[in-house]
Symmetry: C2
Subunit: 503 residues, 2 copies
Amino acid sequence: MLELASYVGARWVAGTGAAHTLLNPTTEEPLARASSEGIDLDAALRHARTVGGPALRAMTFAERGAMLKAIADAMQGEREALLDLAIANGGNTRSDAKFDVDGAIATLLAYSETGLSLGAARFLVDGEGIQLGRSARFHGQHVAVPRRGVAVLINAFNFPAWGFAEKAAVALLAGMPVLSKPATSSAMVAHRIMQIIVERKLAPEGTLSFLVGSARDLVTHLGAQDVVAFTGSGETGAQIRSSRNVVRHAVRVNIEADSLNAAVLGPDVEPRSDMYELFLKDVVRDMTQKAGQKCTAIRRILVPQEWYGSVKQDLVELLGAVRVGDPKYEDTRMGPLASREQLADAREGVRVLGGRHAFGGPAPVGSKGFFMSPTLIEEPAEAVHEREVFGPVAALIRYSSNPAEIVARGNGGLVSSVYSEDQDFIERTVMELAPHHGRIFLGHPKIELSPGPGTVLPQLVHGGPGRAGGGEELGGPRGLALYMQRVALEGSRPVIARILGKA
Amino acid sequence: MLELASYVGARWVAGTGAAHTLLNPTTEEPLARASSEGIDLDAALRHARTVGGPALRAMTFAERGAMLKAIADAMQGEREALLDLAIANGGNTRSDAKFDVDGAIATLLAYSETGLSLGAARFLVDGEGIQLGRSARFHGQHVAVPRRGVAVLINAFNFPAWGFAEKAAVALLAGMPVLSKPATSSAMVAHRIMQIIVERKLAPEGTLSFLVGSARDLVTHLGAQDVVAFTGSGETGAQIRSSRNVVRHAVRVNIEADSLNAAVLGPDVEPRSDMYELFLKDVVRDMTQKAGQKCTAIRRILVPQEWYGSVKQDLVELLGAVRVGDPKYEDTRMGPLASREQLADAREGVRVLGGRHAFGGPAPVGSKGFFMSPTLIEEPAEAVHEREVFGPVAALIRYSSNPAEIVARGNGGLVSSVYSEDQDFIERTVMELAPHHGRIFLGHPKIELSPGPGTVLPQLVHGGPGRAGGGEELGGPRGLALYMQRVALEGSRPVIARILGKA
């Protein structure tokens, strides 16, 4: 069986000890094994800091951007192989697999362009110069420089390609070497991407390392100049954030965790209207794409009392047409969940949400593979605002007055969406939702190829307060801030001007 | 004796139970008592969130700025009384007291102007609109809106006025109600400022609350929309950051903690030159102003081997001329430390730093009051890069090659300074210091009224990575980000334009 190795200290290193077996979640066949036991994590981090850091900092933003483009191009060249791996190891439909791999490529290309636009500089000039005294001589200027540590990027199982790319693109462009750690169960895609990068020498030595298997005590090896960017469960996020070492050295941590994303249908939207149909389409896509295993997927469907019956009937009908099964068949619309653990967790979540099942439920589907029916819950328990069920599961919630108040019970989320053409309703709802979210999607039927709320775009920030982890990634050049130190230069204006001139 | 009360829920409330006694650190006379026992913290926070929050969010930035100006003007009107309190309760010389009170007023005025420049808006538009699709219709725009919680502002004992003002000005301007908690030992100045604000009704109900005495379990009452901004010891900062509740709800926390600020004399700076004299002046000011109790004070004095003897001799002479004593006498240059605990801690710190005492030392000074001699340490132990001695204490360190490497051992700081006229040396040193600092001060003898590295300016960011807590405050409009939620609006361009038009 294939043994996945880690790439640390500029070489491939296989772990020792008990390995984790990666399965095909459709057939439960074992595909590969991975272990990080025995790997010298301290040495791996040191190599990244001392070899990769200086190499990256010597490159201009444009050069770092060109590196990202080369990675994107190489992935594009191996796209078919990557899709096949995602189908086999992730239980992805071909459409799901494209979503992941093409999302990764698009994000790398977007940051490659950001790099080009930042040009020949090696650090950022932040804002205008500031006159500090009565005379113009006393001057201040903020700049942002790459942090001197390692960016430890810990990704979730659902997007092995995109999750890698969206973090690594930003960190590398900022000038920080990366140690990327995919979730083990679906690591084959990320592992193949790393192989492609290494085989073609697309990144200078030490700039990109890769750890497969358990993260072990990785965060206890981090210091004041390191960064952790984590996507995954709130529980693991909390462990990282409260780790003694992280707290003591103020290791910078970004967490993207649980989120009970809501879609709000406006009271003005009559059934059968274009806006109504868009709403249904976005809800069904988010429930079934990647079998609902997207951190941005709609979990709470808020519908005005008046249209409740209609929405319910339409969703039940649309979900009934979703063919669940082996993703190798072209007419399969939804594959299995990613692992036995995820399936068990999603089934348990359905039980916790209570209510009635307008469609589906937690009953087993088939005898092999980690399959689950799309499940639409009615009259859920209050837990619907607390428990993220990471599967093809959403709850229908009726509202009579202010939907934003109901959404806010989720205590912070990544994205919520509003479907309405009543500008007053939109503005009122957006302003009430805004403090609780990182992004608000406004459905509009005239936007061609609208990606819906579930798609993370590199140009817009991704993250959210509270339950969502309090983090922020992407957002075009905004994302660089996580990996840089902002510092104010204070002194004589000509001296500072010369420092910037050599930037 | 004066009983200091807290101001919560729009009324003054005295604590019950054992009170802390506030002393005059010069005479050890008791001046006042304070306790927060028995105060309903949940109710205080709720009142701020539900009464103060809506009131502030209804105001424009210009209106919030006008409120800050009114507070500054009222403080200016009571300046003499505030200075007297600072001298009595803080052991400040009159010059120290002015530094604190005038710093507070200047910061309030600076943010008042920021408010005016932001005008009639109630939230921030962040950056340009972004075309997201092939057609211009699909559009993105980032905005930043006030968070819906309370800004809990916990200040250190050394700047009861400025510490209050620099945090409250930014939070209030951002649109968040404030609960301010001064350090108990020196709370009389902050308490009087709060009385002035309440007496003159300068802030709408619920927008500004005040808790004197122990913070008790305040942070366990906070939620996802609240913010904690803390200045104080790294140890307390770590407790706040790892508090279960803070971690679980991703309560936003900003910490400004320990810092081993360095001043670096360039090899080009010959004794008796203007740059050399400026360097000496800044070092002596930082060692003695506020008896060295400034988070930004120079703790490590890095001098090239060649000038070591000269610098040592000059510093010893200058420190010898500093008259330590009762701040009520006009020729007193340095008063006592703020409390018995601070004195004990500083004396213990001197012991930990080891080395030899070129001047001063930990021996008791006088029989009354918390006095300590300015102390210049030579050949310190490695602890000089780890232990912040919060008093009139600094260590002289010689370097032969790269001073930035030595500075970096401090593992993250608020500010370091470079005194040189060799542009290559400046650039090389600044670029190496930058990732480890929030600010770099470049000494220049031609800048009139140069405040030196120890003065925090509202226009420049204040904070630092690693040991300094990993936080960032001030920096003009940059400071608002801590108290706001950035959110991406994604949808139809005209719909988003209309949302912004009503801003």
